[in-house]
């Protein structure tokens, strides 16, 4: 485009336009010149720079009222000239500067916005076009007034103008003027130059900073750009003038300027200590205002700029502006959680940078500021936490966390001050206060033995806690981080000591202190802690171990570990001992749910119990956490830690047992045991030791038995030798106190026996099956396939013989009992012989020992104990049954007591005892036959008979009564009993008689079915007899004799009216027919 390359050509082209403009200053003329200029090349224009500028400047200075169009176009033209050329003469620069400034001067005839904009643009271009050495000349003390004028004009624009663009460009221009332009054309200032400029700008600092702060805190509607620009300018200028590096080099006394500049020298400021101190104070006020305003500015760019401000000032002025950092750091730390991710990430970067450069660590002043902030925040924390909403809490806490993180290793300075530590810890104690009003926690119980460990089912995760002052999970996480960061940087011994002090100081703080301690340790080990800088020295394993050991000792101390967590503390046997809880108004079962108006006293206890439960859980979590921290090293602590945890795993309160199981999972993982089962198995020696010692003290017996219980439930047969050892202890302890502790120990014995059944059950049941198949074989094999006349003959012969025997051909019927046993034991003769020689396997020996104790306890006064004994008894029989030689004598010893239970006890006990009887019969076979038919059967049948009318009459509610359950159980069991014991005819008659009435349609459905089952079993024993019996009651069709020589068959049931029994009898006969199916006809 450049047409005129040489100055000569250009001059020729431009001259007319210049002359014209000089003569008449109109916008058109200016435009013409501008058009010509466009065709002139840069180098050529450079030569003609001043020539061209002259008419333009003249146009600006023209006397008389200013014509805006002319001014504007002239300014634009100047701008274009300056953009293409460089200003090489300092005087020109100054002149132009002052002339342009004059255009902006306020007055009655203030220029229009466009003009101002153009002028500002021109100024900016001017400053950029000045070459390096030229521009330096501008910043001399003598130009100070000029600069001051420009600065104030620009500030005025920035502050007063409405137009956003104008404001922004004024600020940008100012930025260039104070040599903080971000464009590349400017070379960075050398140290000396910067120092000189700093001296100069110091004069403007008050004006600039006040105006800028006004801009920043001005109307929100002005948009974010002016604010951003103002903040940037602010920190640039402050960062320059107040730079630590510069202030450090300021000479003690003010420099003397040459004489003639004395007036100017008054304007120059000496940045001595006094000045910097007072300036810092003033700035601090401004900064706090700005920070306060812009940290909540709706636009994120403003907040981002604020981060930059803090960063810049922190980097350059950390000493001179120390007092301002209270606000600055607060803002910075607070912005970590900004909603804008840009701000967040930048903020984190800055924090990271601060930490990495150890700005805080090196500056005492900053550390002091931070610790002061921390102190005041800690003081306000409880109040804030109770008054703020959740977002407010989050920001407050992230502030706290930020301070701690920033302090980093300097935390110790803070912690060493007692008042700081106290404030902080008290604040944590109050904030972490748990909500302990939930009744459900106390109510939730662990029932039975379903608490066994599903492998890997529960990792040791924390239970959700409910806090008094917040609900948000995020808040808790922040608090957790706070504690961990403390642990990470802080002096572990000091902290642990302090919080242990709080722990033991008051029950109010105990839970919180434990929580904090747990997190401290995690933090100290660097687990799950998020920090800005690495600590210098991490605590050694020995330190950790030392701290953990002392905490662990405190946790598991009797006073802190055995807390009242439920009313029915240990025993379920409260039914028998209501005296124990006489002071309490209600039975545990209905304690909280059924009472409409709980008394205040009860309420309080619920509260404490809830609190205790939580404390337990927190402590258990702590143990898990310690294990995770120490890893394999924790194995050594298992000696002391495993037993108490296991104690809690058997706790009746659901929450505690869950927490303990979680802890066990943590421990097994930390110590490298694959599973909790292995953890328990491998450390059973420790447990057994604890149990055996625990058993020695009456008060600890229930707990010891609970551990044993848990241990048994979670381990396997490999444990047997150790278990045996401790069970001997249990038994001997039991022997010493049958009265008081029987119930507790029965619990243990029960779980022992169930464990044995489980461990050795397969071997038991195998033999059992073998036996039962044998049994079946025996009963079914002799049955002929078809009846021939020979068979029939044989049958009658046998019958006669049997009858003779029955009538007394056998001399001594009493011997029968004794005689019977040996042949009946014969089915497994090999087994018997080997057993007699070989000692009993240890599990069977255990079962035998336990069985021996059970005999004594069968007649205990407490029903509860009796019921438990019966359960244990049944299990013992199951375990012992492969060893008949041992089982039978024991059965003999058990018998009298069992009979008493069966015939004269509470129905509940009868029910249970009958179950035991069935099991016993199954295992012992016909060894029991005479005893049963002599001692028990009459009683059973008579009770069945006497109860029948009642049940026949009863309504539907009857099926829920105990009487019904006993009836049902007896009917259900009786059939198989008869079969197993191979009962004699007369006994069978008795049974059949008693059961027949239950076939009545009037009886409840279930009883009818049970009665049917009895007859089905009877069919298995003796089908013919059963058939006869049934047909006596009801016979659907007649029978023709096969031969005329035989009498016609006359059966009792023939031709009877249909009655209540008919349906069931017909059904049974049909089943009998199916059973005897094939070619076989019913016997005549």
């Amino acid at each position: 485009m450049a047409v005129f390359d040489t100055p000569r050509d250009a001059f020729g082209a431009l001259r007319p336009a210049c002359v014209q403009l000089t003569r008449v200053q109109t916008a058109e003329n200016v435009c013409r010149l501008a058009a010509r200029l466009a065709a002139v090349s840069g180098p050529a224009l450079q030569e003609l720079q001043e020539y061209v500028l002259f008419p333009l400047r003249f146009a600006l200075r023209a006397p008389g009222p200013r014509r805006e169009r002319v001014v504007e176009s002239a300014v634009r033209c100047i701008t274009s000239v300056l953009a293409a050329t460089a200003v090489r003469r300092p005087e020109l620069l100054q002149e132009l500067l002052s002339e342009l400034c004059a255009c902006l001067s306020p007055g009655p005839a203030a220029p229009a916005e466009d003009v101002k904009l153009a002028v500002i643009e021109a100024l900016r271009t001017l400053l950029h076009s000045a070459s390096g050495d030229v521009i330096v000349c501008l910043y001399q003390p003598r130009t100070l007034p000029l600069l001051g004028c420009a600065v104030s004009l620009l500030l005025r624009l920035a502050e007063r103008e409405r137009a956003k663009q104008l404001k922004v460009s004024a600020l940008n221009c100012l930025q260039v003027l104070v040599l903080q332009c971000e464009c590349q054309e400017h070379q960075p200032l050398g140290d000396d130059e910067a120092q000189r400029c700093g001296d100069l700008f110091a004069s403007f600092l008050p004006g600039i900073s006040i105006s800028l702060s006004r801009v920043v805190t001005g109307d929100i509607k002005q948009g974010h750009k002016p604010a951003v620009a103002a903040i940037r300018l602010f920190y640039l200028i402050v960062g320059l003038v107040m730079a630590d590096a510069q202030l450090a080099r300021v000479p003690k006394s003010k420099e003397k300027l040459p004489e003639k500049q004395s007036r100017i020298s008054e304007l120059i400021i000496h940045r001595g200590p006094d000045w910097s101190k007072s300036t810092a104070e003033n700035l601090s006020v401004l900064l706090s205002k700005m920070v306060e305003f812009s940290s909540v500015h709706p636009h994120w760019k403003v907040r981002l700029e604020l981060v930059e401000l803090v960063h810049h000032l922190l980097r350059n002025c950390s000493c001179s502006l120390a007092s301002s950092f209270t606000h600055l750091l607060k803002a910075l730390v607070g912005l970590v959680n900004d909603e804008s991710s840009e701000v967040q990430s930048r903020c984190n970067e800055v924090l990271q940078g601060i930490a990495e450069q150890r700005i805080i660590a090196q500056s005492r002043a900053l550390a002091d500021v931070l610790s002061e902030n921390l102190h005041s925040l800690a003081t306000a924390l409880p109040r804030l936490m109770s008054s703020q909403d959740d977002t407010g809490k989050v920001s407050t806490l992230s502030l706290l966390l930020g301070y701690l993180k920033l302090l980093g290793p300097k935390i110790n300075v803070v912690l060493n001050s007692t008042s700081h530590l106290c404030r902080l810890s008290k604040a944590l104690m109050q904030v972490l206060e748990l909500d302990v009003t939930d009744v459900k926690i106390v109510e939730d119980r662990r029932w039975g033995c379903e608490g066994s460990l599903q492998p890997g089912a529960q990792k040791g995760r924390c239970q959700r806690k409910y806090f008094r002052f917040f609900t948000e999970e995020k808040v808790f996480q922040l608090l957790q981080q706070v504690c961990r960061v403390l642990g990470y940087y802080g002096n572990l011994y000091l902290l642990v000591d302090h919080f242990m002090g709080l722990y033991s100081e008051s029950t109010m703080y105990r839970k919180q202190a434990a929580m904090v301690l747990n997190e401290l340790i995690a933090g100290a080990a660097g687990v799950g802690v998020d920090v800005l800088q690495e600590r210098e020295v991490s605590p050694s394993m020995d330190d950790l171990k030392g701290s953990i050991t002392s905490i662990l000792d405190e946790y598991t101390d009797q006073a802190n570990w055995y807390l009242i967590t439920s009313i029915d503390t240990e025993e379920v046997s409260h039914e028998q001992h209501p005296v124990h809880h006489a002071g309490l108004p209600a039975r545990p079962g209905g304690m909280c749910s059924t009472i409409l108006l709980p008394s205040p006293e009860l309420h309080a206890t619920t509260r404490t119990m809830n609190s205790n439960i939580w404390q337990m859980c927190i402590q258990l979590e702590g143990v898990g956490c310690f294990a995770a921290v120490l890893g394999m090293e924790f194995r050594l602590l298992l000696l002391t830690a495993l037993y108490p945890v296991l104690e809690k795993a058997g706790d009746k309160t659901l929450l505690i047992s869950e927490a303990a199981l979680g802890t066990l999972a943590d421990m097994s993982e930390a110590c490298g045991y694959g599973s909790v089962r292995r953890l328990i198995n491998d450390n059973s020696d420790y447990l057994v030791n604890g149990i055996s010692l625990g058993l020695r003290q009456l008060a600890q017996q229930p707990r010891a038995s609970r551990v044993l219980d848990t241990m048994l439930r979670h381990s396997d047969a490999s444990l047997l030798p150790l278990v045996e050892d401790v069970i001997q202890d249990v038994l001997s302890t039991l022997d010493q106190c049958y009265n008081s502790q029987a119930s507790t120990f029965l619990g243990v014995l029960h779980s022992l026996m169930s464990a044995l059944v489980q461990w050795f059950g397969s071997s038991c049941s195998e033999e059992q099956q073998q036996q039962s198949t044998e049994c079946q074989g025996r009963t079914s094999s002799p049955r002929p396939q078809a009846v021939t006349t020979r068979d029939m003959e044989q049958f009658f012969l046998n019958y006669i013989r049997q009858k003779q025997i029955a009538e007394g051909d056998v001399p001594d019927s009493e011997d029968e009992e004794a005689d019977e046993a040996p042949p009946l034991a014969k089915p497994e003769p090999n087994n018997c012989e080997t057993e007699a020689a070989a000692p009993l396997p240890s599990h069977a020996q255990l079962a035998k020992d336990v069985l021996g104790r059970c005999i004594h306890l069968l007649s205990d006064r407490s029903l509860h104990v009796r019921l438990k004994v019966l359960d244990v008894l049944e299990l013992c029989v199951t375990v012992l049954h492969p060893h008949r030689n041992h089982l039978l004598p024991m059965a003999h010893r058990v018998w009298p007591a069992l009979v008493t239970r069966l015939i004269s006890d509470d129905p509940l006990a009868v029910l249970r005892a009958f179950k035991v009887l069935c099991t016993l019969a199954q295992k012992c076979g016909d060894f029991l036959k005479p005893r049963f038919s002599r001692d028990v059967l009459p009683k059973l049948t008579s009770s069945l008979l006497s109860q029948a009318p009642a049940s026949a009459r009863a309504g539907p509610v009857y099926t829920h009564t105990l009487a019904f359950k006993v009836q049902l159980a007896v009917l259900q069991g009786l059939g198989s009993l008869c079969e197993k014991l191979d009962m004699g005819r007369s006994d069978l008659n008795e049974v059949a008689d008693a059961c027949l009435i239950y076939l009545s349609a009037k009886q409840p459905r279930k009883l009818q079915e049970a009665a049917q089952s009895v007859f089905l079993h009877l069919m298995a024993v003796d089908p013919d007899w059963t058939w006869l019996l049934l047909t006596e009651t009801c016979c659907p069709h007649g029978y023709e004799p096969p031969h005329t020589s035989l009498h016609p068959v006359k059966l009792g049931g023939m031709g009877r009216q249909r009655n209540e029994l008919t349906d069931n009898v017909l059904l049974l006969l049909e089943r009998l027919r199916q059973r005897e199916s094939g070619a076989q006809e019913p016997p005549p």
């Binding site: 000696l639 020696d685 420790y686 030791n689 020695r696 001997q728």
Partner: protein
């Protein structure tokens, strides 16, 4: 009212046989774990780690015959054990080895425990019952050369030696031997002259165990009767009865004076461990835990007094560990 007797601090299980002898070795420096050696009826010597309370190794060197004496020679890496297979084995346990380096065959079939005394660095004297019924033989270890054989005068009718205790005055070069005999008498022997210096009939029954405090020149012995006998040695090397103490139940199987000479522990046939003050034999405690005869008691030699322990081994297969230092 007196405090209830304490519980054991820990009970070691797993020897699966009656425990006959115990010996602590806790003197090592820090990384060294304190250990307890136990010898049991099934011929095994168990090395218990007292940090983990578990068996580190089980040494099998007596052909499954009962081990009834275990001693360390210097550190815990050199071990001497005596078994019913009539052998005294010297073990090298350094760096995890479990080898019998050397052994001495005893011709005596009794169950008199041998006694060991270090006379110089790497030189020990060992007294043991000799082949002849009433004799005691003293050997030098590790060379196994016989130093002397102590024969009672003809017609003394002491019976078999039951327990031995070699001792010497601190720094004194003259090792002496105290031996308890079947007839209930305790005899002081001079090894260099090979002759009895003094004889004292302490008990009616065989002396089961004795221990001697060379500082106070006072010893204590127990037998199968209900009496503990304390005797002293005067300057003329004469033994004289100082005091007797009557027990409730008869039978003492082991007596040990604590290394600091403040208390004495006895292992009783009545399943109990008794603790007495050594000065006046004041009964201090009855430790009741075992369910069968206690065979042996032993004090640990740990450097830190708070970690010193008492161990007792019993016929019920258990070893109970007691921490009585903090309580007495």
């Amino acid at each position: 009212m007196a405090l209830p007797p304490p519980d054991p601090q820990f009970v070691l299980r797993g020897t699966s046989a009656a425990v006959h002898t115990l010996h602590f070795s806790c003197g090592g420096q820090e990384p060294d774990v304190p250990v307890l050696f136990s010898g049991s009826e099934n011929g095994l010597i168990h090395v218990w780690n007292l940090k983990t309370h578990r068996v580190d190794t089980a040494l099998d060197g007596h052909g499954r015959k009962s081990v009834y004496c275990v001693e360390t020679m210097g550190g815990k890496n050199r071990l001497l054990s005596q078994g019913r297979d009539q052998r005294i084995c010297l073990w090298d346990l350094a760096e995890g080895r479990t080898a019998v380096m050397d052994s001495v065959f005893m011709e005596n079939v009794g169950f008199c425990r041998c006694s060991l005394l270090m006379v110089a660095q790497g030189r020990w004297l060992m007294a043991m019952a000799a082949k002849a019924l009433e004799e005691v033989q003293v050997l030098e270890l590790p060379s196994k050369t016989s130093v002397c054989t102590l024969k009672p005068e003809a017609g003394a009718k002491l019976g078999m030696p039951m327990c031995l205790k070699l001792w010497q005055l601190s720094g004194g070069s003259q090792p002496l031997l105290l031996a308890g005999y079947e007839d209930g008498s305790v005899v002081l022997w001079n090894l260099s002259m090979g002759k009895a210096l003094s004889q004292l009939a302490c008990h009616q029954e065989p002396v089961m165990s004795l221990d001697f405090d060379s500082e106070k020149a006072k010893g204590i012995s127990g037998s199968s009767e209900k009496v503990l006998s304390i005797w002293s040695l005067n300057e003329q090397q004469n033994l004289q009865v100082y005091k007797t103490h009557n027990l409730v139940n008869a039978g003492i199987s082991d007596i040990t004076i604590r290394p600091d000479k403040k208390i004495v522990a006895t292992a009783g046939w009545d399943h109990r461990i008794r603790i007495f003050g050594w000065k006046k034999l004041k009964p201090l405690a009855v430790l009741d835990y075992h369910t069968a005869t206690v065979h042996c008691v032993s004090f640990s030699n740990h450097k830190n007094p708070r970690e010193r322990l008492l161990a007792a081994g019993s016929k019920d297969h258990r070893i109970s560990i007691w921490s009585i230092y903090t309580q007495t």
